[in-house]
């Protein structure tokens, strides 16, 4: 064994190694932090319709006005009923489009006669405030084809979602930005 190989490291070598280690740790830390940040940036808030209790807070707690939460419709599980519990007031005597018979406070649901006995219901998103009244009615007596979702064309994706904070059912969670909606129906398709 040569003398060079058995030579003890000098103080300078030790400090140099220490600096190298610290630098490496810093690089790893910064990279990990950026990775975490990137993962976080690739998720968005979404509302789980199976947990939603239609409390109405989506309409009032969002930092946006009107809320970024809107009603969407899974057409493949809709019954296309004449009397629609998501469209009509429970006390409605007549199943028509008169204001006193409609449940939606902002007339955001459009009803169209298709053929006897079917009617189609469509959400006009610009009018929807996310109150969930229609969702409650549809879930209580219908097939549950109307449900609420955070619409990502307007959601500002707050780090700390104010609706999620107020949600009594813990129905809000982060989901992948690549699949930002939690949809109902066999096809998983829903339209606003």
């Amino acid at each position: 064994m040569s003398e060079a190989n058995t030579k003890k490291p000098s103080r300078r070598d030790f400090n140099r190694g220490l600096m190298r280690g610290a630098g490496l740790l810093a690089i790893v830390g910064v990279t990990a932090g950026m990775g975490r940040r990137m993962r976080k940036d690739n998720t968005v808030w979404q509302l789980d319709p199976d947990k939603c209790v239609q409390c109405g807070r989506c309409a009032t707690e969002c930092v946006l006005n009107p809320s970024a939460v809107k009603c969407v419709h899974a057409y493949d599980i809709c019954g296309y009923c004449d009397l629609c519990a998501g469209y009509h007031q429970p006390s409605a005597k007549v199943t028509d489009t008169a204001a006193e018979n409609q449940l939606c406070p902002t007339a955001a649901i459009k009803r169209t006669y298709i053929e006897d006995p079917y009617y189609e219901y469509a959400i006009e998103e610009s009018l929807c405030v996310g109150c969930g009244k229609c969702v409650k009615g549809c879930g209580a007596f219908g097939n549950g084809s109307l449900f609420l979702q955070v619409r990502h064309d307007r959601c500002v994706n707050c780090n700390d979602c104010s609706i999620a904070r107020a949600c009594p059912a813990n129905a809000f969670r982060r989901v992948s930005a690549e699949q930002p909606y939690i949809l109902k129906g066999q096809s998983g398709e829903a339209r606003a």
Partner: protein, 479 residues
């Protein structure tokens, strides 16, 4: 001087700006973006009215004899809710629920058209109002109770589309007559033995009946040779038709314009007076069932007037009647009391679905002085639980969150309650006012929406889901 001029100019400019701002503000119409919400916005061209103009339906025009008729047998479940209008089997047959694990004692089964129409049984024959999608026809089908073989079928062509099923009524049967109401309110009377056509009535065309949402659910009643029907038409609320000749014997006017609901007419007796109780869309009514005053209104109330009513009135003791309905309507208990020479309605209590017994689709049971029902989905913590309430509206027991049911039927037999859930699972519990005690559970149907009411005759239980009917032999003991 310059300062004065400047001050005047500034003041004038400010005043001009203010005038402009106020003018602009006043010129803005805050309602310009508002639209009217008026009727018929969903059908501006009146396409629905055009579609309603259909050909006249030739009721009873189709007949097929398929198999020879079997020998008559006694015992029957001759109408909706059975012989006593209470969904309680009066049979003395001891039922067995000692089934092998997961094996229901199915005697026979057969396919039906999509719907919730259920069976009535008389003289060993099963009668069911079915819709044949292939032939586009309402068909009254007659089967042998003991082997499920079809004997004959009688019907008429009618084009209908599925709307949460198509057929949903139960025939009424006597030794001589079978009376049916089809999905679009066509009444047909045929001979019980042969299926020979006797008469028919199109309640929409002849009485101005509005077909209820999801089609008619009213089951006819035959009382002393008269078919008691509730067209809820423009002039006739309820009427009696002679089953022999099809002629209207008496009718009750409908000045309030009440409409047909899914509920069926229930008979009751108060202070020795027989009457028919009906809950129309618009109000509830009691109509004299006998004597010179037949057809006259004895009492009525508009305090019970939900827009959708599926359960029929539940007749209790001492003139009490329970009304209940889904869609947040809840329930109402009234008492019919004598008043001078007539009757009055005394409201006892009203409950919303979170406060008291309620049913969305099936008629609650009244047994051992208590009411039994499956609570609707809007009943809060009790949602979909099987519950027992006393007649004063107090909860006695509930099945608990581990035992939830759906919109399926339930009956009492052999001091037990048989409950069918949406998915075809039959649960048997003790018919007890002390608590929920489950005795047996087995899947008897594979489909969904097992909502058609049950019928039980001589230990043979008939049940259905949306597309299939099964007959269980509950007298069979598996070793």
């Amino acid at each position: 001087m310059k300062e004065r001029i400047a001050a005047i100019l500034v003041s004038l400019a400010a005043a001009g700006a203010a005038v402009y701002a106020i003018s602009w503000w006043l010129a803005q119409d805050p309602s310009r973006q508002l639209g009217q919400r008026v009727p018929y916005m969903d059908d501006p061209d009146g396409r629905k009215a055009i579609a309603a103009q259909q050909d006249v339906t030739k009721i009873g025009s189709i007949f097929e004899q398929i198999n020879p008729a079997p020998t008559r047998t006694s015992s029957s479940w001759p109408r909706f809710k059975g012989a006593s209008y209470d969904n309680i089997s009066a049979g003395s047959v001891t039922l067995s629920f000692d089934w092998k694990e997961g094996e229901a004692p199915i005697a026979w089964s057969l396919d039906l058209g999509e719907g919730h129409a259920a069976a009535a049984v008389h003289m060993g024959r099963v009668f069911i109002m079915d819709y044949d999608e292939e032939k586009k026809a309402d068909m009254l089908r007659c089967f042998n109770l003991y082997d499920g073989k079809e004997i004959w079928r009688r019907g008429y062509n009618l084009s209908i589309k599925r709307n949460h099923g198509m057929s949903r009524t139960i025939p009424a049967i006597t030794d001589r007559y079978v009376v049916t109401i089809g999905p679009k309110c066509h009444v047909m009377c045929v001979d019980t033995d042969t299926g020979d056509f006797r008469w028919g009535i199109d309640m929409v065309a002849e009485y101005g009946t509005k077909v209820p949402g999801w089609y008619a659910g009213q089951c006819p009643l035959i009382d002393d040779g008269l078919a008691i029907l509730a067209p809820g038409g423009s002039n006739t609320l309820v009427m009696a038709v002679d089953c022999e000749i099809g002629k209207v014997v008496w009718s009750t006017p409908n000045p309030g314009g009440w409409q047909m609901s899914h509920a069926s007419i229930m008979p009751m007796t108060v202070a020795g007076t027989r009457m028919y109780v009906y809950t129309a869309v618009g109000g509830a009514v009691g109509i004299a069932a006998e004597g010179e005053s037949r057809g006259k209104i004895l009492w009525k109330t508009t305090e019970w007037a939900p827009s959708v009513i599926a359960p029929s009135p539940v007749i209790l003791d001492d003139g009490k009647i329970l009304f209940t309905a889904g869609y947040a309507a809840g329930s109402m208990m009234i008492k019919i009391v004598t008043s001078g020479s007539g009757f009055d309605v005394e409201p006892l209590y009203t409950k919303n679905p979170k406060e008291g017994l309620c049913s969305e689709q099936q008629s609650p049971l009244y047994y051992k002085k208590c009411l039994f029902s499956v609570m609707p989905k809007d009943a809060g913590p009790l949602r979909k639980q099987f519950v027992c309430y006393d007649a004063d509206g107090e909860l006695v027991w509930a099945s608990g969150k581990e035992h939830r049911f759906g919109l399926g039927p339930y009956i009492v037999a052999d001091d037990k309650i048989l409950i069918l859930d949406d998915d075809g699972v039959l649960t048997v519990i003790k018919a007890s006012t002390r608590g929920y005690e489950q005795l047996a559970q087995v899947r008897i149907l594979e489909g969904h929406d097992s909502w058609g009411p049950l019928a039980l005759v001589n230990g043979m239980l008939l049940a259905r889901d949306s597309k299939r009917m099964v007959c269980l032999d509950l007298t069979r003991r598996d070793e």
